[in-house]
């Protein structure tokens, strides 16, 4: 079992607990074995703060920045490495987006989903018959 995801400066992580669940952050510095200094990706409401490693999941993505990089430097590195698109097109990213979309469904969306499911089932039944 080779370990490929590391807590390191520039590692992109997804927060999986608390208020900002689902958000992507970048590690800027390590305080100790349990806390890291993170900042949200550009456009995220998360500023620079110390966060517990237990609250986040390491992703496969990494950007090249130095320790305590400035916000502008981070934005440039994120744009260069195209992390947001890589995340959105990854299986994990798609899964997270799908779950969020389902949670945000309104009554009409649920009705549309129901009709879509019914019509699909009808076609399958017709094919099997």
């Amino acid at each position: 079992m080779v370990l490929t995801r590391f807590v390191e400066i520039g590692r992109v992580c997804m927060i999986n607990y608390g208020k900002y669940e689902g958000a992507l952050v970048v590690i800027l510095d390590v305080a100790n074995a349990s806390r890291v200094l993170v900042q949200g990706l550009p456009g995220s409401p998360i500023g620079r703060e110390l966060m517990n490693i237990k609250r986040m999941a390491l992703t496969d993505h990494k950007i090249t920045i130095g320790r305590n990089a400035r916000t502008k430097t981070i934005a440039k590195a994120v744009a260069e490495s195209d992390v947001q698109n890589k995340w959105d097109s990854s299986a994990w990213g798609k899964r997270v987006a799908k779950r969020a979309a389902k949670a945000n469904m309104g009554d009409f969306d649920r009705f549309q989903a129901k009709i879509a499911k019914q019509s699909m089932a009808k076609k399958v039944a017709a094919k099997l018959a």
Partner: protein
Amino acid sequence: MVQQIRQFQVVGRKRPTDVDPTPKIFRMRLFTKSKVTAQSRFWYFLHQFANMKASTGEILGVTEIREANPRVIKNFGILIRYQSRSGTHNMYKEFRDVTLCGAVEQMYQDMAGRHRARYSTIHIVDAKEVPSGLKATAAYNPETDGAVPPPAVQRLNIKQFLDSRIKFPLPHRIPRPSQKKYRTVFKANRPSTYFS
């Protein structure tokens, strides 16, 4: 957990009298939960150091000292004097945090966990930022630079994080539900601790 400890600067003196119209002014930095507690602790310490107490003295000002830059991780060295079950001891502990108050909170938690020492039995003698001192210590030569080594982080457990290219994996991750309401006593499948 919301950070509760804040740093206050309390300035006070003995009330001026005919005998002593301009008494010496004392200033203390205190780590407490509120301004009120800070004033109380000020008198607690002052009446041990000087001949004054709350009734004979006056507090000239209480201001909160906020962290200048809470966006950078710093190393803090805290010198404490605490009461154990069998005696009172001095201790020097180091912590890495973004604010001095954060480091002081860590210290109280650490002392409680390691030594069962409570807030009331701990006196903070000094709490200040310590430079990492890696370069300075490497370049230090006692013959040319003097007997006192440059200020640097002392503790190994802090030194191990003073690496600009720090990198470590998380080999054993305990899966945790994202919300309290998803907690269950029994699970359908065994958890995996790899990349959880």
